[in-house]
Symmetry: C5
Subunit: 286 residues, 5 copies
């Protein structure tokens, strides 16, 4: 029986800082893989900075491993994880790679990669090179979402001071999250044809019941209208899936929900892991 490596406990400091921007900040995962003991390699991106900045691309790709991988002898699958990790390291000055194991929790994928970078072409190069590894040629892409980070649209200090203060005053205080959930969202033409004031009002109703969950669910928002077939990619991390379920119910119960034409489909639920752990898990059989 194979063992899934427990996700690293990450310093809460990063999260506290990020939680200032509700729906705009999630600290993340397998930092380790971006920080090997390489000597001469380029300087790695500053993770905290990248995750807080606007104008950063986030590419979410889910993959299924093809059965032929398991027709290889275990020995032939050895080293695949190291090869993939080394590739991510080569790109560490341009992109940040996070990995999630979805097998067993999502029907349409075995794992998810979330890749951040300020240059989308560089992100694509990594994605292409990943597919050219021995492990990558055994994987099929099952979903691809491309988003870009932007400053807050609605709940700003200027437009909605009280709620903005509410968002800023709370910070994540739960255990290190073990789970992430990705929910693509598309809104109807009726939504986009509301006035700015109407949309602000709806987003205030949307935001109010979520304040109580800032302590146990982290969130980050990506904008993707025109870049793929959604308007938004919402990303969550939590260690308390019951609280997350309640958060999502509270979002279902506001009028803004009546403007959704896509909310999930797929909802991607996975465990936060290092890239090395994900590939190791998927390349090992008894």
């Amino acid at each position: 029986m194979k063992h899934i490596v427990a996700p690293r406990i990450r310093p809460s400091l990063t999260f506290a800082a990020l939680s200032l921007v509700a729906l705009g900040a999630v600290a993340s995962t397998a930092l380790a893989q971006q920080q090997p003991a390489a000597t001469a390699s380029a300087a790695a991106l500053d993770r905290g900075n990248v995750l807080k900045s606007p104008g950063i691309f986030g590419v979410f790709s889910t993959y299924k491993v093809r059965p032929e991988l398991y027709r290889l002898a275990n020995a032939q699958r050895k080293g695949m994880a190291a090869e993939v990790t080394a590739l991510a390291d080569q790109y560490k000055d341009k992109i940040i790679v996070d990995a999630y194991l979805t097998r067993g929790l999502s029907a349409k994928s075995d794992f998810l990669l979330r890749v951040h970078g300020s240059d989308l072409a560089a992100v694509q190069k990594f994605m292409v090179d990943f597919r050219a590894t021995r492990f990558g040629v055994m994987c099929d892409v099952t979903e691809s979402l491309v988003g870009i980070t932007k400053p807050l649209n609605y709940i700003t200090k200027e437009k909605s001071a009280t709620l903005n203060a509410g968002l800023s005053s709370a910070s994540y205080s739960g255990d290190a999250p073990r789970y992430s959930i990705v929910v693509p969202i598309k809104k109807s033409a009726a939504w986009w044809n509301l006035s700015d004031e109407q949309r602000l009002k709806e987003m205030e109703s949307h935001t109010h019941p979520t304040l109580q969950y800032l302590g146990n669910v982290k969130r980050k928002l990506y904008h993707s209208t025109g870049l793929d077939d959604t308007d938004f990619i919402t990303y969550f991390e939590t260690n308390d899936l019951g609280a997350f379920n309640n958060l999502m119910l509270s979002l279902a119960k506001v009028p803004e929900n009546t403007y959704h034409v896509r909310w999930g489909s797929p909802t991607v639920l996975g465990t936060i892991q290092t890239l090395d752990s994900v590939v190791n898990t998927l390349t090992t059989t008894k």
Copy 2:
């Protein structure tokens, strides 16, 4: 011709206890596989307790066997069932595994696993390890639903005393169920935007006609908003599919049904079997 092992007759005691929680309690299946004569292994979970508790995760995964399994000689398929059963036994202190044969009754799957545990990561580990067995590498996942149990929402002693009493007073009295049906349910934004009082009223109308079926259909409810692309997973066991058809018709005939955006799709109908029997059946050819 291969023989399908008849489902074990389980003591009605368990069911009587569970039926106190309508739509929240279904006794279950192949208990045997969780109770081998292992000596030194960890203590198995208490099945009745797990099935009655809130905060328990239920993962439902349907699988199709890939044709390549049948290109193996019968001899090569020998032992696959024992390997899978042994794996489930290793996890018996963390999870409970129920198995159902759906081949011949559902187009999109050959079998269903329902796995309960209080730690979703442990459930995932089992799912991943199952896929790494000789049988598991031959299977494709075709649907995955993740839910969590919660206390009753609507028909409680406080909010709806008479109906609650009705639910509590009846218990399953039919033959040991041979069939299970899983029906994922998603409700519209209009539903979630009703007031709590309105939803309670609708759920009372929903519950009333179901009382008469408590004697021959067992039910259990899982909440999954945000965990997958449904809001609820409803699980049923019965030995009387005609009665079950009538129950479902009675649920179709109340206004709550007008708020469904998903009701089935897929409906998963299978026979309740031991895990050993399911794998044996699917790995044997003439």
Copy 3:
């Protein structure tokens, strides 16, 4: 060039009897395969009785043959039909198997099996054993529908005497049907929320224009709410597809049609054949 065996001409007697129950009775197909000259085997089910009784399960499964079948030499495919027919014979005291060739007329399947039995578990056992034959392991299931027969709901002597008499007075008088059509039907929540009286009124409007087609289209109805993702499975046999097209148009032109959320999808059109003929046709190449 291979020859498709013409469907057997069946005695009209059976059909005359069955046509008493409009939308509830279709005589059927390849009776021969249920009546081999076996000596010691169990008594076969009484076909006419089974098809007229309520509480009988009807399982409809469509299959596609995988291309690998045709990579086998013709000699390796020899005997596959006999093997399948022998299997059906072993079950003849429990189930009735009808077979239809859909290749060339339906994109999603090559053949259809319709299996009747009073014990659904026995039907499943046959389905599972069929998939374990040399032919069955080469087939993929593409659709599976499960229904149960019930007494008439609406157009009874009591509720709608004139129409009931109209249904009873006409009988099929056309040539032996060569074609069957299966049309799954699902109705909206609005339909099910009508009162019994309103639904009766709509079904009377539905039934009236169909009387004229009793002479050349046979029909049988199965109820499947909760057993699969439809509410009804409607089954037709005819030798006059132009008349059938007109019948379906007349059903499209009544208000009841506005309550359909599924009508077909798939519509399964095939020719009525013996099981032996279907398997022979699909296992022979030039």
Copy 4:
């Protein structure tokens, strides 16, 4: 580089005659393949007569060639076209086969067969035998539509004299068509619940703007309610795709369009070719 054989120029006489029946007459394609120099074979169907008659079945099947065809050596693919053409010749007294190359223009198919015959079982036999040829076993069916020809419903001399005269007075005068387009159409329950008079009025509005395109787009209509999951199969031939695009826009701009629940999906665009040319093109690599 392989060469696609240019479609034969067919005598305009046939088309002039057929264009008398607007939306009911399209001359056709690869007549040559139905008229080999066979001596003793049965008399071929009269093409013009078949295409003008009511009660004729038209089966439209699209196919994709499986990649394994191209793993065969070119030599092994030799003769496949001749084999298929010979098969069509054997059936020439019962059916008429037209072939279209869709590769490069439609994602879901490589070619389309349109087969006419008065006996649907004979059409099916050909379809089945085609799949049993060396080429056919390498093909997957991706869409299957079954229709039947009928006399005009709405724009008749009796009901709509002026429009009927307009349809009759114009005839196709363009270059020999090189392109065909197949568009399946399904109408809503609201359409079918209109009165005959209302539907006639809508069809008059539908027909009026199409008169100007009779000279450069040929059309033929098949009825398929109940035979597959559409109500109509509309078939077009043209050499002027810009004019065809304008024709379709004019049909989009009338109220009848608001009753469509399927219009295309798929739209099948291909070039008109001989059966021999289609198979040759698809079985040849560099």
Copy 5:
């Protein structure tokens, strides 16, 4: 690690000229591949002229590489790019081929070909010949869109002088675009049933907010009603995806958006590359 060749910087002159026709002009891509140093070959099409002319067909095909390509040794994949490029060169007097790498950014494809020509049959011949190359036989088509260019419909000098002037006065002034986005659009029957004046008014509202993006997003429009299952194919090039996202949001916020029944599905995002680079990238592994 493989290197993705940076798209060539193309002279801005071409784009300045094309930008006169808003939503009708996008300069393009890998011009180099159409201009090899061939001596005796036919004269290449004039790219600028083709892209500005009405009556030109544009075929958009997306492809996925099948995994079997990567089972070939690297040596066996050598020369595939040259073979494809040589094929495009043979057609350079009839068609113009543009190539885009979508792997890593779109789930359903690895690359996109956009092919222009005045004769659709010639475009098809190229598409067919491409599939017959060693690389092409390893590719599956995942989407195919066929459109035709037309003169402006709405925002003309005559109908909407001010907006037309606005469109004409601005020209692309950003960096050479590295990204292209293809968005298929289908409009509802309600849209097409508006009067010409109403549609003009809506298109004016649609056009107004887009003027500010002429400087950093190029656009080209193809009409496809009846040629495939969309009404329009909109094609964009940009180097500023944030601006593009804002452009698409501005198009979402006008009433015309309420008439969309398809907007994307798929949205195809890729990087602009030479055909040689695309094939090289996809045929190289480590």
